[in-house]
Symmetry: C2
Subunit: 157 residues, 2 copies
């Protein structure tokens, strides 16, 4: 995958997230890459993120991945919308206002999960994103999120 | 809180969830208690479940807690609807068909989080639940989920 991961360009004070923060050593440290149209993340969950029944992911992992990858999608899409790339300057950081996830089928563990995110609408402070999560070529879950931009100069959430 | 936790009564083969499985040693092992009208869980997250900005929870933890506690709420409410209690027999296990979370304000870490779940509708195989998540007496997030019952005899998800 070419280029920098979105999360590797977040301002340091916002890079501590358990799901996607490069500074969180206990976390999942997912990496999302923007190709100009969509944002892609590939991630193989640790085996202990099992659901009630072994061998399949717990629902919270699915929603966490869609949430964090959705925030990265919003960051990258907004940056491009403003005429910049990740090589020009750090992207703005987005937080989730609302998240909707549909669980379509059990998500297997022990295989790579692929997340694809697209912006549905970009406005001044808000980006609405759609995200799919696939395993072995099949979509297991899909989500939609309303992401809100943290003002670039702000240093508290 | 009186009585047994819902999760301590799940059938063993469905008790491995990272969020709420009593058999998952790496997981959060949340405990939800049914009082006849609502389901309550109190949980203090580990400090590494931080969001991008330190001192506040990451969004995925919020959705995970609402999801797992919502499933417990569905289990307990369905069991009562069938005329039983946790002392009579194990509750049915529910999985999430869809989840919607609204993040109302940043959720602080370092304090106990209180989740309250209520059934909105109980039908043969489905229970719709509403869940709130509070910290220091303020609601930080609320969710709604459609939970689907796994047939009691079934042993795969």
């Amino acid at each position: 995958m070419p280029g920098k991961a979105v999360q590797d360009c977040y301002p340091e004070e916002f890079a501590n997230c358990y799901g996607c923060g490069r500074l969180n050593r206990d976390g999942m440290q997912i990496k999302s890459y923007w190709d100009g149209e969509e944002c892609v993340c590939r991630y193989t969950p640790k085996p202990y993120y099992t659901g009630g029944f072994p061998g399949f992911s717990y629902g919270g992992l699915i929603s966490s991945l869609i949430d964090c990858h959705g925030a990265a999608t919003a960051s990258a899409a907004k940056l491009q919308d403003e005429g910049f790339t990740l090589d020009d300057r750090p992207p703005s950081r987005f937080v989730t206002a609302s998240l909707k996830v549909d669980y379509l089928k059990p998500t297997p563990l022990g295989t790579v999960l692929t997340l694809k995110g697209k912006p549905l609408d970009i406005s001044n402070r808000k980006v609405i994103v759609a995200v799919t999560l696939s395993a072995d070529g099949e979509i297991c879950a899909k989500g939609e999120a309303v992401m809100v931009k943290i003002p670039d100069a702000e240093t508290s959430p």
